[in-house]
Symmetry: C2
Subunit: 670 residues, 2 copies
């Protein structure tokens, strides 16, 4: 059996009152029902009764995508998250809603298994699967299938999974290499993830094969009649080649937008919409784990694209996607902080995709360089997307605000992929903490610890019921006390040592302090002798720069896995979104424990003493260049900020204010 956090989270008990338990609890008691309310008030809930809604008459805000085209997925993600929470936080209203939705979905299914809102009510059913590129039937189906897997796991019935498997049967008939089949693959990957999870449950090889077909066929330049499937399909629809979806900056075809310019095994660089390759690579990694011999080229593609992304297209927060227009990757090293500097997007769903992908990779390659980024993305690019009260969200996680895009939050979005995504992610967050590599799976005797948070993992080691407990104040404190409770003498544990730490130790001292690919393994003998031990990771304040090719010369401040930002709430003198602020990377920074009175959030804030200043921008003359010495003189004339106050980036936009915030700060050269 594979490790899927969607299932293993049930083996992990988050310690009450711990940082992540509080986040999960908020999602459960606030977000889940707040989102149910919006599903209902926006029509998404009732939509599956297949009555006509006024919204269907509205022209698409993002042509050609009607705003209801992803409603199936919103329902699927909410259902999925709701079923996870029902295991641990039963709620009768949620239970009733899940069951009602299940009935509605089941009733909305066509006789042949087809299930999709748009082609059941807005456009004729006969048009189904004619715009596989943009109309996202398979994306929707993937989320509904993931919801059905969670439903079956909780309710132990097939009221939703049964219909979804019938839909998958229709897909198996419809898609494939056969002459009478469509050689298609989804414009937005997701069904691949769901099919592989389904395969693990059903062991029906056809489920694996369909996922593999979608992955392998993707980007085939000669998929049908010697042409790319999307181009063939567009011509078949009679699309005007000059009619461009709003999200294409340039001409058609723009198959790069879909991560489908070339087959994945040939792709050299992540491209296009940033969520799509993350979901795709999540499925690819799962496929590699299941069938490593036939998929080694895909394994190489994962590494190649990952390294390209992390080194040239990732923000210091772990966010990805600089380009607002297509929610996607820009050119290498193009990482503006804000839209007034050329773009900054870093969509929440893309960061969640990083977590999903890394979790799958770690199943076959325990490599802490992946885990470090998963933690970075989670604590910053993901956690920042939900308010402390669990009722407001961000979709775009820009690094700096501007007048056009102030730092703020919304309760809902027209395209509302992110809120249910973060809710379902927090529901299973414990599942990301630990894994038991597949090779030792039967009576797993080896546990790898990826993330640190007070919690207890229950597992069996060669039939011995066992527990591994960690107690820590992470991410604010770096000491993690472990307790292993097992009657087995054969349990070993690997602990991730983050690359960013300047020092770490384990007490009692283990026999070998060797770190292999970011993990130290404590052998069974050591653990038998030392069932309690402490990992101490030094959480220095770190001053981070960008690669010299990045187009902004900034310093970002980090402590442990947390990236910090400045907000006007703590620095009320700001009037320019901190654009003229400079930060000395050698500045003295002090830490301060805070319990915020308005949100009750507890965190460590950072104060910079006489290490930041404001450039006198207004005194610089309007010219296409400035004599270098004028600039140094201007730099010398800067106005010193006695104390600059920083808060965790994830905590931004929770306390009101003027909507001014910035993460990377201009480097002060003195």
């Amino acid at each position: 059996m594979a490790h899927y956090p969607q299932e293993t989270f049930l083996n992990v008990k988050l310690a009450p009152g711990s940082f992540l338990e509080k986040k999960r609890h908020t999602a459960s008691v606030a977000s889940l029902k707040q989102q149910l309310g919006f599903l209902k008030s926006t029509g998404r809930y009732e939509a599956f009764k297949l009555k006509w809604l006024p919204v269907y008459d509205e022209p698409p805000a993002i042509w050609p995508i009607g705003s209801w085209l992803f409603w199936d997925s919103d329902i699927g993600k909410w259902l999925e998250g709701a079923c996870y929470f029902l295991h641990t936080d039963y709620d009768a209203e949620v239970d009733a809603a899940v069951q009602e939705l299940t009935d509605m979905l089941s009733n909305a299914q066509h006789d042949d298994g087809y299930l999709n809102l748009h082609y059941s009510i807005v456009e004729p059913t006969s048009n189904r699967f004619t715009n596989i590129r943009d109309f996202c039937e398979l994306y929707n189906a993937g989320h509904l299938l993931e919801g059905a897997l969670a439903h079956e796991h909780y309710y132990k019935n097939d009221k939703l999974l049964g219909p979804m498997i019938r839909y998958v049967d229709l897909m198996i008939k419809t898609f494939g290499p056969g002459e009478d089949q469509l050689h298609a693959y989804p414009g937005h990957p997701e069904i691949e993830i769901a099919l592989l999870r389904l395969y693990e449950r059903t062991q029906d090889k056809r489920h694996f094969e369909l996922a593999k077909y979608f992955i392998t066929e993707r980007g085939n330049p000669k998929g049908v009649d010697g042409r790319h499937y999307y181009d063939w399909e567009a011509d078949k629809r009679g699309d005007d080649p000059n009619a461009r979806p709003y999200f294409y900056p340039e001409r058609t075809p723009s198959n790069w937008y879909y991560s489908a310019s070339v087959p994945l095994v040939e792709m050299q660089s992540v491209e296009g919409h940033s969520v799509r390759p993350m979901y795709l690579l999540t499925a690819v990694a799962d496929m590699v784990r299941m069938d490593p011999t036939s998929t080694s080229d895909f394994q190489k593609a994962i590494v190649r694209l990952w390294e390209d992304m992390v080194s040239t297209k990732m923000y210091v927060t772990g966010g990805i996607g600089a380009m607002p227009q297509y929610e996607g990757f820009g050119i290498p090293y193009f990482l503006p902080q804000g839209t007034d500097e050329g773009g900054s997007y870093a969509e929440t769903c893309a960061a969640i995709g990083i977590m999903m992908m890394v979790d799958r990779v770690l199943q076959y390659d325990l490599d802490g360089s992946f885990t470090d980024i998963m933690e970075l993305a989670f604590y910053n690019a993901v956690l920042t997307a939900i308010s402390t009260d669990g009722r407001k969200y961000t979709y775009i996680n820009q690094l700096a605000s501007s007048n056009a895009n102030p730092a703020d939050r919304s309760e809902w979005f027209r395209c509302c992929c992110c809120p249910p995504n973060i809710m379902r992610t927090l529901a299973i967050i414990g599942g990301y903490f630990y894994s038991q590599p597949a090779s030792t799976e039967v009576g797993a005797k080896h546990v790898a610890v990826h993330l640190y948070s007070s919690s207890t993992l229950e597992f069996t080691a060669s039939d011995h019921p066992s527990k591994l407990t960690q107690t820590t104040n992470w991410p604010w404190g770096g000491d993690i006390d472990f307790k292993l409770e097992t009657s087995s003498k054969a349990v070993s544990v690997s602990l991730r040592i983050p690359q960013w730490t300047s020092d770490w130790s384990i007490e009692p001292v283990p026999p070998l302090k060797e770190v292999t690919k970011g993990y130290i393994t404590l052998p069974a003998e050591y653990l038998a002798a030392n069932p309690t031990f402490t990992l101490k990771i030094k959480l220095d304040v770190r001053m981070l720069a960008s690669h010299p090719f990045v187009n902004t010369d900034i310093i970002a401040v980090a402590r442990g896995p947390i990236i910090y930002c400045v907000e006007d709430f703590d620095n009320p003198w700001v009037d320019d979104h901190f654009k003229s602020l400079q930060l000395d990377p050698d500045a003295r920074v002090t830490e301060r424990g805070v319990k915020d009175p308005s949100t009750a959030e507890e965190y460590v804030s950072l104060d910079v003493h006489r290490g930041a200043s404001l450039l006198p921008i207004k005194s610089l003359k309007a010219e296409p260049s400035i004599p270098w010495r004028t600039l140094t003189k201007a730099a010398a004339d800067t106005q010193l900020i006695e104390e600059l106050h920083l808060v965790p980036y994830y905590f931004r936009s929770n306390r009101g204010g003027k909507g001014m915030a910035r993460t990377g700060i201009r480097r002060w050269i003195r």
Copy 2:
């Protein structure tokens, strides 16, 4: 009479062998006939016989613009330049071609005065003036009219100007505020410039009024039926609103592309395609000069948009337009050096537009801050666009090369606006050197000297035939010897003192050394006593930085009006387009006089001694951020370049090589 360089250049004799005389001579003996050859071989020449050409069947490369849609303007610009050169460098072949083209154009004219290639042969004539936004009839007409003005000036007959005035008569009937008139204005300004020049020749007020109507109506949000003219026109054509011209990055309407989002008097920032606002503002400045009282809001708009452009959207070379897709302005302070950093375009025609605009502004506002930019743009963004042999061009004047866009030149372009534009500009370059402000026009006793180059201006001062001669090695030497020859005792002279110089003097010392708006005025008494005098302008090597908000932290090297660059020809070790090169702004730089053996170009090259280095980029790990100290350590590990060799930017891409060049160099912090 106004000063137009198109006419006053005949009063200026360039000294044989001087820097600019050689450039003009090359354009005359090489470019003029080389371009005539391409006009013939590409079909542009014969096209006006109105026979069908195969190119008309080709789908537009830049949809919806067929590549022949601007051919009228190519012919117009070439004709114009040819007529200027005929005055000074008579050539029988050129003369014959001009006369043959004149006949062809005259024969191609419709009975009602209409004259346009596309609507005479490719699309039905009845469709004329139905796509005023994109199909550029009025732009073409403007260039043909400027050609006709030059033709009449040389041939002293109306064989071309007569037909063009008949076309203007048709425009006067067609366009205007009347109920039966089109409330239209050209998608690409140019006719406005031509109409105002025509008005100066004809004194027919209707010519002024039509230009003023086009300028004033532009951007009217309620131009026709309560709607913007371009939107109304697009609907009338039945355009699919989702069919986007290739040059629109985002959805329709994109009237900002045409500098028509709002009326000019309300516009706060230059926008869109960068040539259009320059041509528009050229005409606006001429209109302001002619009728300052009724156009003061336009005068304010010129200053406002100029300051916005110069301070936030201009490259260190004087080039404008960062965005290749629409050849236009990006957001403020977005000035990447190369396309691999997000864009760099700086089209030649836009820089020529700056020169045209400044020349017009100086007629009513003698302000050296305009002139400094005109000189910057001319010596760098314009001169770089023509090879030393006058046979190859650049269209895009990027500041740094990349693998996708190496530093190179072409003999011709599909859209070939730039080569004839630079040719006609060099033809009249002497006309930019001097002006005699309109207020003193009758027997002008005052001469303003804007640009320095060995030359003689002939003028009359209160009926006294007079001469002002300057002898200088500018732009390589800063001493300018002047000689005033006149029997008038009332001539005064203003000399521009560039803002960039650190020191200057005049010998013999004038009574007042006061500089007003960038000019010192030598009074008549001083000149009567000192008919020969010398202006000495110090030409230091200057290290230039960008405004701190600009997204690249670079140093550019300048000396006098010349901006320098590095090329692989002189620095053959380069393998990354100088991306990892760093330059110390405090480095020691020495000057060296060079006569290049392959091109015979004489210039001053600059050598940087132990002041440049290469960052060890390859040793930096792939991560979304780099600890600041790693970066400083990497900076310390840089590989010193003993001697870095720089050449004038205008001289780039003339000697072969690998196509690697860069202007602004990363600032080395040590």
